[in-house]
Symmetry: C2
Subunit: 341 residues, 2 copies
DNA sequence: GTCATAATTCGAAACGCTTTGGCTTGGTGG
DNA sequence: CCACCAAGCCAAAGCGTTTCGAATTATGAC
């Protein structure tokens, strides 16, 4: 069932039917009611492709996911972000299209997305310092919103980010307040912007309290269980092990916990651990009481908001660059305690 | 730059240009070379929407993700599956469109996907026993492939699945061989088809060796860390705790590990644990030696193959229903050992 | 040289919708 | 009674492709 057929059954012109359905004012209320009713009865849905061709908008948003040897973006955080963004898209009648491509093809993929008219805008994931995609997308002319920030980017751009620096600063201060002086940082890969900021927050807090950051107590790795384990283990095996750890993700935190337990250390008593908790749906930080003390910020909510920002940008392309900085909560759980003498 | 413009600069008709680019034989080799060259120089890409309108195919595949109170499908397994499928799509020039919708809207979403012509086919995730989507999609007439199976479905359908029954049977046998008799099962939600099959494999193996399955040693929950913890803890707190556990996922396995460690039990010595390992990219089962003994099967590979099957189905709609049953490997890790007397 | 045949190329319709501009109709004010 | 206006509707021109059928030109056989 298409427009023309529907119009014929109603004995109206396609123009009028289109307008009636589209909510345009110049159609008689009674006529509109007839049309709407018939459309429902015949289960009519306008063909998306045709609309897109006629209007020039694609009513779709793109997410390109580079697959790389180095840093795997298809991670749990990504999944929850997508779920959040997807909710917003569905409600707004937008499609979400995902391109999984080798990272060497990333630029080409964005160009194609534009030149083929596949999407009206894109979300940029996992920005690095001085991320080249910002210049690229600006150049191509696709509306985009960045999830995170890219230190050193010269051009203005829209972003939504957690205040990573502040979060890790507070976490560090919290540990310092508990008497900890040797604190390890198990960070994500530090070419990622968020990891840089976290590290800054960490060292800033230490320095502010007169503790000299010890480079050997800072690890920077992919945030997997095993790398968290490895990093924690390496630190704990030293002659002067840290008494506390700050870990950049729940998953590496679980690895760190395993390392501690391997050494017979009990979390919260023998060693303190703070993680960053993205509130992933299947990795809750405990049911009632949080198992880890954590800096908490829902990545799913970030996804929702990022999508809103993008849709808004698409609707009003000339709006001034919008930024949103989400503050992480500090949640006190069972994994921290005063320094063990 | 569009077809018409390109044709004009070449002093050819759009027809010929289209054919030259489309690889049709009836165009002079020399002309084709000119066209191809010009297309590259002008950075021409045919507009996807227009192609779709003209051909009737959308060159896109849909994944609909219901968000439900009960069972969250946006889970880590899903992310890796998507990544695998996405690779295949990109290579084949297909787009992947994802719809995140409230589960109450699922049927409507599929109908729209069809009537709006958004996709050429869909992948069905997380089938339950007697999954209603199979009848629905057959009725709607969208080509689809199911990741998993739906026991009790009356209609024929394409699927790719891990041999869950066999995998859990082998895991159980392995534990029995190690002398374990009281074995707990921490399964996923048992309205999910895969969970039913796993349970069957488990009980079949027990019965075959003359061990009567104990219903109180079987838990069925969402596969999160905390539910794994809770289930394991409940079993271990009994007066007659199991000496071994089989756990349906890495994540709940980690929860189970935590429960064991809380009780001072060391994995592989005091208690044996086997998990199912989907080979998630950020949750590797150890770096070199597997930490958990596991039944292993890459969900990413399943995604790749599912996508291939679907594209094949789209290309040749009348091909006979294809099924693929992937066998899981049994990987011996450090979490199992002979029964502790 | 002629004519059938093959090799190329082209014109135009079609895909399903939106949108511009125009046409009727009936009502209003002078 | 007429000019004018608003409301309501429609015809047709796109949007950027593909593709059918026809037209043109080149090729070869006779």
């Amino acid at each position: 069932m298409n427009l023309k057929e529907l119009a014929r059954t109603l004995d109206l012109s396609p123009t009028t039917v289109s307008r009636a359905l589209g909510g345009y004012p110049e159609v008689n209320a009674e006529t509109r009611a007839r049309v709407v009713d018939a459309a429902r009865r015949h289960n009519y849905r306008p063909n998306t492709r045709a609309i897109q061709l006629a209007t020039g908008r694609s009513m779709a948003v793109g997410h390109v996911i580079p697959i790389a040897a180095r840093h795997e973006i298809v991670n749990p955080i990504f999944a929850d972000f997508i779920a959040g963004a997807g909710e917003t898209y569905s409600r707004a009648g937008y499609d979400m299209v995902m391109s999984v491509v080798p990272d060497t093809d990333e630029a080409r993929t964005y160009r194609e997305l534009k030149s083929r008219g596949t999407v009206d805008g894109v979300i940029v994931h996992g920005p690095t310092a001085k991320d080249p995609r910002i210049a690229l997308l600006t150049d191509i002319g696709i509306p985009f919103v960045v999830h995170g920030r890219a230190t050193g980017a010269e051009l203005p751009y829209r972003w939504i980010d957690v205040n990573n620096r502040r979060a890790f600063q507070r976490a560090t201060e919290f540990l310092l307040d508990l008497g900890h002086r040797r604190i390890g940082l198990i960070n994500g890969l530090e070419f990622m912007d968020f990891a840089i900021r976290r590290r800054t927050g960490f060292t800033d807090a230490l320095i502010a309290r007169g503790v000299t950051p010890d480079p050997t107590l800072m690890a920077s790795e992919e945030m997997t269980e095993s790398s968290g384990y490895r990093a924690a283990r390496a630190m704990l095996d030293r002659p002067d092990p840290p008494t506390a750890l700050i870990v950049s993700s729940m998953i590496s935190g679980i690895g760190a916990r395993r390392a501690a337990q391997d050494r017979g250390l009990m979390l919260g008593r023998d060693i303190s651990v703070i993680i960053h908790d993205d509130e992933l749906s299947y990795l809750k930080n405990g049911d009632t009481v949080p198992m880890f003390t954590a800096t908490r910020s829902s990545v799913r909510e970030a996804g929702r908001q990022a999508a809103e920002m993008l849709l808004h940008l698409i609707a009003t392309p000339d709006s001034p660059p919008e930024h949103r900085l989400l503050e992480a909560e500090l949640i006190i759980g069972q994994s921290t305690g005063p320094r063990h003498p």
